[in-house]
Amino acid sequence: MQNSLLRYLLFIGILAVVATGCIRVKIPKKGGAVSVSVPVEAVSATVSAFTTASEPLKAEDDLNVIEAHVARERYAEAISELKRQREAGKLRDKDAVLYDIQMAMLLHLNGEFEKSNRRLDQAERRMDELFTKSLTTEASSYLTNDNALPYEGEDFEKVMVNIIGALNYVFLQQWNEALVEMRKVDHKLNVYSDKYKKKASFRLTKKALRYLEPQIHSKAAFAKWEKLEDLRFPTQDDFLNAAKEATGKELREPLRSAVLNLAEESIYREDAFARYLSGILYEALGEENDAFIAYRKAYATYQSYQKDYDTPVPVRLKQDLLRVTRSLGLTAEYQEYRKAFPEITELSEKVLGTQGELVFISYNDLSPVKVQHTVRIPVPVGTRVDLMKMAFPRFAVRSNQVAYAEMILTSATGEMLSQQTFEVENIEAIAIKDLDDRIGRIRAKAIARATAKFVAVKSAEKGAKRVLGTFGGFAAGSAGSTVVNISERIDKRSWRLLPGNIHLGRFLALPGVYQLSIQYYSKDKQLLGRQDYRDIRMETGKKTFIRSRFFSDAGTN
């Protein structure tokens, strides 16, 4: 078993040696050819190949400068700073997608919607092309680190590309084009759904247990459930058997489906905000049937968002579902939703027909940032014990305090209307869970990589010792370890300029010109800040979109 693992690692090592050799063949350099006569030397040549690929990536500090500009709404400065960084060679060709999406976000905030869309389009094409993986770069990432791979973007980032794209078109008043973006999202989500459906496993997390607790009547019964905490089961049957064993009872409806729903580990494969936004846009164009399909999917997705990311189902979505099903004459569906949301008051068609709607989108704070978590594992080598270094990524959250915002709309005659915004997408939570879902694979790769490097250094040390004696062996070993220590770095790249969460406010008002004041509040109702918008024109039956970027600690940043 161990032998076959080593054999596999050695194969990857050889592959990478050849890969780097190929590059050298293309750009001939004197003395740069790889010597392949002795395998030990070949392996140490691979070690030396690390150094070229391991310039320190300072992206974190560089991005902080840009984020500080964004926090002060100095978007033009942020854009030129990002351009400057690229020209200074801080972003590599491998980071082309990352550059495009970061730039697109800044351009979007700066109101340069067409330019933003060109960036997003380019990013999307590149992401698509990266479906085909290069074996040579994959192999070299096994020997250096994941920064050797071109940045492709996470699944949720790929969806955000279309969401931001759709919003760009909305602000350009090109509704049909906005819907093209939403159709692209629909397709992407369908593909993800197929991809991950088979991979869903079952596990009761602490959070899931918290949602389960009110449904279990006695404390003693709940204690039995707690025994299952964090145990992962590959299939539904395995999970149900374990539950039966733990609780001593067969699970019956409706608890059975509730438990299954809570335990199913849903990898990100649906996006509630994307669905909800599609619904809004379809409705704006009068395509009610498409709007209904989108709202229904949004509703289903928000139910799992509740468990996975603490984002509740928006009240407004429930009203939308009731209205659209009624208007389409879908009586059965209407009854079903009416029963499910007894507390919701419907918006009458009459009111909607005479009023305009303000759709307020606020991007709050910043998405989390990846930090390195280093582990050193002692490994016995002969009579000594050496340390094997491994690096894993972990998300660090950033100040993200907005719980809701109060929107106050004042008409020309001084009439005031007020309403609250609601969370539609918690990007922070999605990013963290997304990494969590992949961490197993990332860890496995880090371990394989660390082992490969370790074996390589030890073989080089042994080889050098044989040729140069004890001191030579020691020198080669410590030089190799240094290289390994430097090269073992995590891939910190992520679309960091995305907000931490997105809030939406939907406001119905009679046509006219209004002033809008937004007050942002934290969970404990502390005022975090305010923004004012002047001369907002509302027209009958039309939607007016407004976007805002808010930082809860802009003052301290």
Partner: protein, 206 residues
């Protein structure tokens, strides 16, 4: 090394090097000219070939159908057509104007149909005409309220259906165009062109 003997590793490496060398050395840039009627499929997205195929199919169809003769028999003149909206309901941002313009051109050049300027074009022409009333000489200034009204409106949509699994993607484009009698709301012609593409991508490359 005890896992693999030295000789096999040596030969393996040489073999791999040769493979990588062959794969790694790409040709320098090569440009070749092709006719505009030649099919060139690169990414699988909507391209000039699709646009041309749709225009050709529509033109062939629209000129063959009885509405043209019916109109000529009835009115004893060429029908006047206006281009309305052709909505993009697809998964791509497509310049629909390219095939609509192709269609317009072919129909005008066939001599059987005349086209009236579209809504936005009209605005511009009207502005010019208004301007002429003030600035141009009386003999050359064009008269007001002499516009020819359209008899038919051409409108339609472009739809796509996508399916994808693994590295295989199927795109189905359906273009619908219809000609509507402006006075009676009757549809006198419906044209349809379907295009289906299968795009296969490999998961790995060197």
């Amino acid at each position: 090394m005890y896992l693999l003997d030295r000789r096999s590793v040596y030969y393996g490496l040489i073999g791999l090097l040769v493979i990588f060398f062959i794969l790694g050395c790409g040709a320098p840039r090569k440009v070749s000219r092709v006719g505009s009627a030649e099919t060139t499929d690169l990414s699988g997205r909507w391209n000039d070939t699709d646009s041309r195929l749709v225009a050709e199919a529509m033109i062939r169809d629209i000129l063959r159908r009885p509405w043209l003769e019916d109109f000529a028999d009835r009115e004893d003149r060429k029908p006047r057509v206006i281009v309305g909206s052709v909505i993009n309901r697809s998964h791509e941002h497509i310049a629909i104007q390219t095939f609509v313009k192709d269609l317009e051109r072919e129909l005008i050049n066939s001599g059987k149909v005349s086209f009236v300027a579209s809504k936005t074009e009209r605005q511009e022409v009207r502005q010019e005409r208004d301007d002429q009333q003030m600035e141009a000489s009386e003999e050359t200034a064009k008269r007001l309220a002499q516009e020819a009204a359209a008899d038919y409106m051409l409108r339609g949509s472009l739809n796509t259906i996508l399916d994808e699994s693994g590295g295989t993607k199927v795109i189905f484009y359906q273009t619908n165009l219809e000609l509507i009698d402006i006075e009676s709301n009757e549809k006198v012609w419906i044209g349809q062109k379907k295009i289906k593409k299968v795009i296969e991508r490999s998961r790995y490359t060197y």
